[in-house]
C-alpha cells in the first residue's frame, strides 16, 4: 500500500508549532520532519509534554503548524481551510482518543455508524458495515449499549471500530491505552495491529507503554518538540528508514521506548 503518488502516506516537513509568545512561549514542535509508509503501524513515544499530541493534531488537521508542511495521502493538510480539514478527517484520517471520544448519548452501533452517516452511506450498507466492525472488535453483542454501560476497554474498541468505519487511510491514536489496564491495553493494541493488517490502514499511535512498542512496525521518539527517530523494528525484522534527516526515532536495545 502506498500513498497517493506511490510514496509515503504521511510526509511531515519542517513543522514548527509554538504556543504562547515571548519568554513564556512553549515550542511544542521544532522542525519535525518524517514520513510514514502506507499500511504500517508507527508508535510515537515521548514524555508528557514532549509534543506527541500536538504532532498528532497537526497531522490530523485539528491544529495548524506555525511553519512546515504536512502531506497526508498527497494532500497538503496545512493549506486546507476548515471545511477541507473536516473533509480530510471525514474521509482520510480517523482518531482514537485516550478518553475514547465516544458520544455518550449514542449506542455502540450508533457511534460506529456516525462516520458512515456523515458520509451519507445508505442505511443498509451502514448497518452491514457497523455489524462487521463490531464483530471485528469483538463487540457484536454490545451493539445497543451506550458508552456508559461499557468497560473502558470495550469503549476503546468501539472507538477503534468507529475510527475504521469510514475506511480511513490514516488512523491516529492518541494514547489509546492510557486509561486502560495493561492487559486491556495490550488487547487494544493487538486489535490495532490486527486492523492495520486486515484493513491496510496506516496507524500512528502515541503511547507511554513500552510493552506496546513491540506491536509497532516503527517507533518514533519525540523529545521537547524534537523528533529523535530510531530505525525501530518491524515484526518482520525490517526497519523502516525514516526520511527525516535530523529527527530519528529510536528504540532501546530491549525494544523499549524512553518516553
Amino acid at each position: 500500500m502506498t500513498g497517493g503518488n506511490g510514496g509515503p502516506l504521511v510526509s511531515v516537513r519542517g513543522v514548527h508549532r509554538r504556543f504562547g509568545s515571548g519568554a513564556t512561549a512553549v515550542h511544542a514542535l521544532r522542525d519535525v520532519t518524517f514520513d510514514l509508509a502506507p499500511g504500517t503501524m508507527t508508535a510515537l513515544v515521548g514524555r508528557s509534554g514532549s509534543g506527541k499530541t500536538t504532532l498528532l493534531n497537526v497531522i490530523g488537521g485539528l491544529d495548524r503548524p506555525d511553519s512546515g508542511t504536512v502531506l497526508v495521502d498527497g494532500t497538503d493538510v496545512t493549506s486546507l481551510d476548515e471545511d477541507g480539514l473536516s473533509l480530510l478527517r471525514r474521509e482520510k484520517v480517523s482518531y482514537v482518543f485516550q478518553t475514547f471520544g465516544l458520544i455518550p448519548v449514542l449506542s455502540a452501533a450508533e457511534n460506529v455508524g456516525a462516520p458512515l452517516r456523515l458520509a451519507r452511506v445508505p442505511a443498509a450498507e451502514r448497518e452491514r458495515r457497523v455489524a462487521l466492525l463490531l464483530e471485528l472488535v469483538g463487540l457484536a453483542d454490545h451493539a445497543e449499549q451506550v458508552p456508559g454501560e461499557l468497560s473502558g476497554g470495550q469503549q476503546q474498541r468501539v472507538a477503534i471500530a468507529r475510527a475504521l468505519a469510514a475506511s480511513p487511510r490514516l488512523l491516529i491514536a492518541d494514547e489509546p491505552t492510557g486509561q486502560l489496564d495493561a492487559e486491556t491495553g495490550l488487547s487494544v493494541m493487538a486489535l490495532l495491529r490486527g486492523v492495520v493488517e486486515s484493513e491496510g490502514v496506516t496507524a500512528l499511535v502515541s503511547t507511554h507503554d513500552p510493552t506496546m512498542l513491540a506491536l509497532a512496525d516503527r517507533v518514533i521518539r519525540i523529545n521537547d518538540g524534537h523528533l529523535d527517530q530510531d530505525p525501530g523494528q518491524r515484526s518482520d525484522g525490517q526497519v523502516d528508514q525514516p526520511s527525516g534527516t535530523r529527527s530519528h526515532g529510536r528504540l532501546d536495545s530491549d525494544g523499549r521506548g524512553d518516553s
Binding site: N57, R90, T99, R120, A123, D174
Partner: protein
C-alpha cells in the same frame, strides 16, 4: 474558608455575575410590588379621594320640625357636629331651611305658602329682576321664583302677607317684601325644595286636608332671618363639604369612622329640639369601597409577585444546579483534601449571603427606579399615580427577605455531593412526589377559587394569592413530563434519517439527561408570560363588560329632579343618538323587599329601541332586540296632539245637589316617550269652562291620559284644612267633564267605556291618529282604585270639532261613603295593558322564585303593578348585581296610568349611540358613559395597579426565561466542550456542529415553549375568570369570559422563540468556535 470563597469569586466572577443577575430579578419584582402595595396604594386612595365628586363625600344633616326659638342653636350645633366629624379636613357648610306651611289668604283661593332660607344664594339662583334679600330688614326681604311671581303677580317691591303657621301653636303671620325674582339653577339642590322649585303647586296635599290646595313658594329670605325670625322650620338641612384635595389616608380612615358615628352624635347633641334628625353621606361607603377596590388590587399584585418569586426561585435553582455542576470537581477535590460538609456548607452560605446582600443592594434602587418608571406609564400616570424615585421600609424588607430566601434556593444544590444510583432514584421519586403534591395543591387552589364567595368583602387569602402560581408551576411540571416522551417520538423518526446532523440533534435532545430545572423554567416562564397577557386581556374585557352592563346604555344621564316635558328633546339635541326616558329605582315584589339595603330594582326604558339603547352581554346568542320584542307594547299610544301653547280647558257638570269638584291631571307624552303629568287646580263642576294653564309647554306633546279625581266640595274651601261637613251626602251624581284641546280637532271621534258600562260605539278621529307606529286612537275609561265602585259607567268619547279636540268623560259618582274616598275616572289613549311583561335577572328569578310565565305584583311608588315574567336574563342593564326587573317604559306607564298613578317614575335619560357627550352643561344630573365607566374600572387610581403589574410580569418572565436559557446552554456547552471537539474530530465542520447544537436546543425549546403556551392558555381559561373581581370585590357581572388574545400571544411566542434562538445561537456559535483541538489535548 473566607479566602477560598474570595479566591473562587475572583476566578469565577462571570459565573457569580450571572447568578447575581438572576438573583436580582426576583427581589426587584418584590420591591416593585411592595412599593405598589404601600406607597402607590396610599397614593391611590388619596388620589381617589381627591377625585371624588361632592355627592360622594358631602355629609348632610337633615332635621325635621324645629321650633322657632331653637332654629339657630340647632343650626349651629349641627354645623359643629359635622365639622367635628370631618376634622382634620377643612370643611365648608351650606344650609338650607324651609318653614312649615303658612296659610296664604291673599292668594284668592285656598292656598298655602312657605319661607325658605338658602345659603350661597347667588350660586344657586340666577337673578331675573331686582336684588337678593338683605339680612335684618324689616319687613323681611324675600326673592321668589319666576313662576311664583307670575302666578301671584309679584314684582320687586311687592309686599306679601303670609298667614299663620299651620301648626298646633301658630304664630300671627309674617309680612315679607319682595326684592327680586330669581330662577333656580339646576343641580344646586332645589330638588329638595318642598315644591321642587316649581314655585307653585295647584293641587298641593300634605295630609292636612281632604282636598288639595294651591301651594306657593318658596319666599326666599336670608337664612339668618329665617333662623332667628321665630318661624317653625319644617326642615333644616346642612351640608358639609370636606376639602379632600390633599388627603392623608389615615385621616380618611378617621373621618370614615367619625361620619359613621355622626348620626348618633347629632341625635345626642340636638336632643328633643328637633323631631327627627339624620346624617346622610356616601363618604364612608365611598372610602370603604376604595379600600375594597384596593384589596382586590392588592390580591392581584401579590399573585403576580408570587409568580415572579416562583420563576426567580426556579431560575436560581437552575443556576445553583449548574454552578454546582461546574464546581463538582472542585467539591470532590476539597472533600478529598479533608474539607467537611459543614465547611462546604459554610462556604456556600457565605457566598449566598454575599450574593443576597449584593442582590438587595442592586434590587432596592432597581425596584425604585422601575417603580417610578412604571408609574410614569399608562395606565398609572393617567390615574395620577406617577411618583418619583423613592425607597421605603416595606420595600427594603421585602427585597432583603426575598433575596435571602432566594439565596437559600441557591445554597441547596451546592451542598449536594455528586453521586448516582440510589440517590438518583430517590431524587426521581421525590420529584414525582413533588409533582403530585403540586398538582394536588393546584387542584385545591382551583377548587377554592371556584367556590370563593360571590359577594364582596372577602379578605385576601393565601389561596387566591398563590393559586395562579401553583397552577402555573403544576401545569408546567406536568407538561414537562410529556415533553420528553414527545422528544423520544421525534428521535424514533430521526433515526431513519440518512445523514448525521438531524439524528444526532434528535438523539441529543431526547437522550441527554435533561435539566429539569431548565425545562421547568422555560415552560414556566412561557406559561407565566402567556398567562400574564391572557389574564390582562381577560381582565380588560371583563371590566369593559362590567362597564357596559353597569351603565346599561351608551350614555346615562341620572336626573337630580323629575324631568319636564320636552327635556328629552334638549338632551337629544345635545348628544344626538336615540334618547329614552328610563326608570331605575327600588321596588317591592309582593311582600319581598330584597336584602338589607339591596331592594329589587325596576329598570324601564323604551324597549322598542332595545338594540340601540341597551348594552351588556347576553347569553345564548340572544340580542336585545329579541328581549325588547317580548316586552314592548303591541302599538304606540296615539293620544291627542297638544301643540305648544295650546289652550286647554275643562268644563264639567254634575247632577244632584251635592257640589263636586275635580282636580284634573293630564298625562302628556313628548317626542322621546317621556310621560309627565300636568295637574290643574281643583275645579268645581259648575258648567263653566276652566283653563288648564302650563300644560302645553313643549312641542310634540300628546295627551295620552286624563285623571279626574272627583271630590265632594266640603265647604272647607276657604281654609283648606277643615274636613267637617254639616250633613253627609248620599245618592249618586251623574257627571260629565269635557276636556278641550284647542286647535287640534278636525273630525269625529270615538266613544268607549269600560268597567261597568259602555255608552257608545266607535268613531274615528283622523286628527288624533298621527304618530310613528301608532294605531287608530282608541280611548278607554275606567274607575281607578282603590275604590273603583265609587264610580259607575265610566265612559270617554273623543270628538274633533273646529274648536279643537274634545274629550268627553262621563260617569256616575257615588256620593255615599267617606267624603275623601277615591272617586277617580281615568281615561287613557290605550287599553289596560294587563300584566306588564318583564324580563328579570337570574338573581331575581332565584331569590323571588320566579320563572318564565310567573306573575308578580310590584309596588312602584305607591302603585301596585302586576307583571308577568317573559324572560330571564343573566343580568339587567344598569343593575348588574341586583335582583332586577326590566320593563318597557311605555307599558309600565300605561299600567300606572290605568291605576290612576300619573307620576311615572323617571330617573334618567338613556342615550344610545350618542355622537357627543357634552350633556353636562344642561346641569340635569350626573353623566355616565360606557367609556368613562370602563376608564374608571381599568384606569382609576385604585385599579390601575393591576394592569400595570400584569404588564410587569410578562417582561420579568421573559427576562428570567432568557437568562435561564443562556445559563443552561452556556453551562451545557461548556460541559460538553470535549464532546463538541470530538465531533470535529469525526470530520464535522463547525457549521454542521452549530446546526446540530442549535437543532438540539431548539428541538427542546420548541416543545417546552409550546407546553408553556398550553399551560398559559389553560391557566387563562381556568383561573383568570376566577381571579377577576369587580371593583366592589364581588364576582363580576356579567360572568367573566376568558380571552386569549391570539395576536398578542402569537407575537409573544414568536418573540420568545426568536429571543431563545438568538440567545442559544450566540452561545452555540461561541462554543463551536472554541471547540477546537485545545479540548482534545487531554492526553498530552
Amino acid at each position: 474558608m473566607l479566602r477560598l470563597v474570595a479566591r473562587r469569586a475572583r476566578a469565577q466572577w462571570p459565573l457569580l455575575a450571572a447568578l447575581l443577575a438572576v438573583a436580582v430579578v426576583g427581589p426587584t419584582l418584590l420591591g416593585i410590588c411592595a412599593l405598589l402595595l404601600t406607597r402607590t396604594a396610599e397614593q391611590a386612595l388619596e388620589t381617589a379621594a381627591s377625585r371624588t365628586t361632592s355627592d360622594q363625600i358631602d355629609v348632610t344633616a337633615y332635621t325635621v320640625t324645629v321650633r322657632g326659638e331653637d332654629a339657630r342653636s340647632v343650626a349651629d350645633d349641627t354645623r359643629a357636629v359635622l365639622t367635628s366629624a370631618l376634622a382634620p379636613f377643612a370643611t365648608t357648610t351650606a344650609a338650607r331651611a324651609s318653614s312649615v306651611m303658612r296659610s296664604f289668604p291673599d292668594a284668592g283661593a285656598p292656598a298655602v305658602a312657605y319661607l325658605s332660607g338658602v345659603e350661597d344664594l347667588p350660586a344657586r339662583t340666577q337673578l331675573a329682576e331686582g336684588r337678593l334679600p338683605r339680612a335684618g330688614a324689616v319687613p323681611a326681604e324675600s326673592v321668589v321664583l319666576e313662576s311664583t311671581a307670575r302666578r301671584l303677580g309679584l314684582k320687586a317691591g311687592s309686599r306679601v302677607r303670609l298667614g299663620r303657621e299651620l301648626t298646633d301653636d301658630p304664630d300671627e303671620g309674617i309680612e315679607v317684601r319682595v326684592t327680586g325674582i330669581v330662577r333656580a339653577l339646576p343641580g344646586t339642590g332645589w330638588e329638595r325644595d318642598p315644591l321642587a322649585a316649581t314655585g307653585h303647586d295647584p293641587a298641593y296635599r300634605d295630609g292636612r286636608s281632604a282636598q288639595p290646595v294651591h301651594a306657593y313658594g318658596p319666599f326666599i329670605v336670608d337664612l339668618a332671618d329665617l333662623l332667628g325670625g321665630g318661624s317653625v322650620l319644617d326642615r333644616l338641612e346642612i351640608t358639609a363639604h370636606p376639602d379632600l384635595s390633599a388627603p392623608d389616608v389615615r385621616d380618611l380612615d378617621t373621618v370614615t369612622q367619625a361620619v359613621l358615628g355622626a348620626d348618633r352624635r347629632l341625635g345626642r347633641t340636638l336632643g328633643d329640639r328637633v323631631r327627627i334628625q339624620r346624617v346622610a353621606s356616601l363618604l364612608p361607603s365611598t372610602l370603604l369601597a376604595g379600600h375594597e377596590q384596593q384589596r382586590v388590587t392588592t390580591a392581584a399584585v401579590l399573585a403576580v409577585a408570587a409568580i415572579g418569586l416562583v420563576l426567580t426561585a426556579t431560575a436560581l435553582a437552575l443556576a445553583g444546579r449548574l454552578s454546582a455542576g461546574v464546581r463538582g470537581d472542585e467539591t470532590v477535590l476539597l472533600s478529598a483534601l479533608g474539607v467537611g460538609r459543614g465547611q462546604l456548607a459554610g462556604a456556600a452560605l457565605i457566598e449566598a449571603g454575599v450574593l443576597a446582600v449584593l442582590a438587595t443592594a442592586v434590587a432596592i434602587p432597581a425596584s425604585s427606579a422601575l417603580h417610578a418608571g412604571l408609574t410614569q406609564l399608562p395606565p398609572m400616570d393617567g390615574a395620577g399615580l406617577a411618583t418619583p424615585f423613592a425607597v421605603n421600609a416595606a420595600q427594603v424588607l421585602s427585597v432583603a427577605g426575598g433575596a435571602l430566601a432566594l439565596a437559600a434556593v441557591l445554597v441547596v444544590p451546592s451542598l449536594r455531593t455528586p453521586a448516582a444510583g440510589v440517590r438518583g432514584r430517590r431524587e426521581l421519586l421525590a420529584r414525582s412526589g413533588a409533582d403530585l403534591l403540586l398538582v394536588a395543591l393546584a387542584a385545591v387552589g382551583w377548587w377554592q377559587l371556584r367556590d370563593q364567595p360571590a359577594g364582596s368583602g372577602s379578605p385576601i387569602d393565601a389561596v387566591r394569592v398563590l393559586a395562579p402560581a401553583l397552577l402555573l408551576i403544576a401545569g408546567s411540571a406536568v407538561t414537562l413530563r410529556l415533553v420528553w416522551p414527545a422528544l423520544r417520538g421525534v428521535e424514533r423518526l430521526a433515526v431513519r434519517a440518512r445523514g448525521f446532523m438531524v439524528p444526532l440533534a434528535a438523539f441529543e435532545a431526547a437522550r441527554r439527561p435533561q435539566a429539569v430545572a431548565a425545562g421547568l423554567l422555560i415552560g414556566l416562564g412561557c406559561a407565566a408570560a402567556t398567562y400574564g397577557i391572557g389574564f390582562d386581556a381577560t381582565w380588560q374585557r371583563s371590566q369593559q363588560d362590567q362597564a357596559d352592563l353597569a351603565v346599561g346604555t351608551d350614555l346615562a344621564l341620572t336626573l337630580t329632579a323629575p324631568p319636564a316635558a320636552g327635556q328629552g328633546g334638549r338632551v337629544g339635541a345635545a348628544v344626538g343618538g336615540e334618547v329614552s326616558p328610563a326608570t331605575d329605582r327600588g321596588v317591592a315584589v309582593g311582600q319581598w323587599l330584597g336584602g338589607a339595603g339591596d331592594p329589587p330594582r325596576l329598570i324601564a326604558m323604551d324597549t322598542t329601541r332595545a338594540e340601540a339603547l341597551l348594552r351588556g352581554r347576553l347569553n345564548d346568542g340572544r340580542t336585545w332586540n329579541d328581549v325588547g320584542a317580548a316586552l314592548a307594547p303591541p302599538e304606540r299610544a296615539a293620544g291627542v296632539p297638544v301643540p305648544a301653547g295650546a289652550a286647554l280647558s275643562l268644563v264639567g257638570k254634575a247632577t244632584g245637589g251635592t257640589p263636586l269638584t275635580v282636580t284634573p291631571r293630564l298625562l302628556l307624552q313628548d317626542v322621546t316617550g317621556l310621560r309627565t303629568p300636568c295637574t290643574g287646580a281643583p275645579i268645581p263642576l259648575d258648567g263653566k269652562a276652566h283653563r288648564l294653564p302650563d300644560c302645553a309647554t313643549a312641542e310634540g306633546l300628546r295627551l295620552v291620559a286624563v285623571s279626574l279625581p272627583f271630590a265632594i266640595a266640603t265647604g272647607n274651601v276657604g281654609t283648606g284644612y277643615s274636613n267637617f261637613l254639616d250633613e253627609l251626602p248620599a245618592g249618586d251624581s251623574r257627571v260629565a267633564v269635557t276636556l278641550t284641546v284647542a286647535g287640534t280637532g278636525t273630525g269625529t271621534g270615538t266613544e268607549t267605556g269600560a268597567g261597568t258600562g259602555t255608552e257608545a260605539g266607535a268613531e274615528t278621529d283622523a286628527g288624533t291618529g298621527a304618530g310613528r307606529g301608532s294605531a287608530e286612537p282608541s280611548w278607554t275609561a275606567t274607575s281607578a282604585g282603590p275604590s273603583p265602585g265609587q264610580l259607575g259607567r265610566p265612559a270617554v268619547a273623543l270628538t274633533g270639532t273646529s274648536a279643537g279636540t274634545a274629550l268627553k268623560m262621563t260617569t256616575t259618582v257615588a256620593l255615599k261613603g267617606p267624603p275623601d274616598a277615591a272617586r277617580t275616572l281615568v281615561a287613557t289613549a290605550f287599553p289596560a295593558p294587563g300584566p306588564v311583561p318583564v324580563a328579570v335577572s337570574a338573581r331575581f328569578a332565584a331569590e323571588a322564585g320566579a320563572r318564565r310565565g310567573s306573575q308578580l305584583d310590584l309596588t312602584v311608588g305607591l302603585a301596585r303593578v302586576q307583571v308577568g315574567v317573559a324572560e330571564v336574563l343573566p343580568a339587567v342593564p344598569s343593575a348588574p348585581n341586583a335582583a332586577a326587573v326590566l320593563a318597557d317604559f311605555d307599558v309600565l306607564s300605561r299600567a300606572l296610568a290605568v291605576s290612576g298613578d300619573f307620576d311615572v317614575p323617571v330617573d334618567a335619560w338613556w342615550v344610545g349611540r350618542p355622537v357627543r357627550a357634552d350633556v353636562a352643561d344642561l346641569r340635569l344630573g350626573g353623566v355616565t358613559t360606557r367609556a368613562s365607566e370602563t376608564a374608571r374600572l381599568t384606569g382609576g387610581p385604585l385599579r390601575a395597579g393591576l394592569p400595570a403589574v400584569l404588564r410587569l410580569l410578562v417582561p420579568a418572565a421573559v427576562l428570567l426565561m432568557l437568562a435561564g436559557i443562556v445559563l443552561h446552554v452556556t453551562f451545557d456547552l461548556r460541559a460538553r466542550a470535549v464532546e463538541v471537539a470530538r465531533l470535529r474530530g469525526l470530520g464535522m465542520t463547525r457549521r454542521e456542529i452549530r446546526t446540530v447544537l442549535l437543532g438540539q436546543h431548539v428541538g427542546i425549546l420548541l416543545p417546552l415553549l409550546a407546553a408553556g403556551a398550553v399551560v398559559g392558555a389553560l391557566a387563562t381559561r381556568l383561573v383568570a375568570p376566577l381571579l377577576v373581581r369587580a371593583d366592589t370585590g364581588a364576582a363580576p357581572v356579567p360572568e367573566v369570559l376568558p380571552v386569549w388574545p391570539w395576536a398578542a400571544e402569537a407575537v409573544l411566542l414568536v418573540g420568545l422563540l426568536a429571543g431563545c434562538a438568538l440567545a442559544v445561537s450566540a452561545v452555540v456559535v461561541v462554543q463551536a468556535r472554541r471547540a477546537d483541538a485545545a479540548y482534545l489535548r487531554v492526553a498530552s
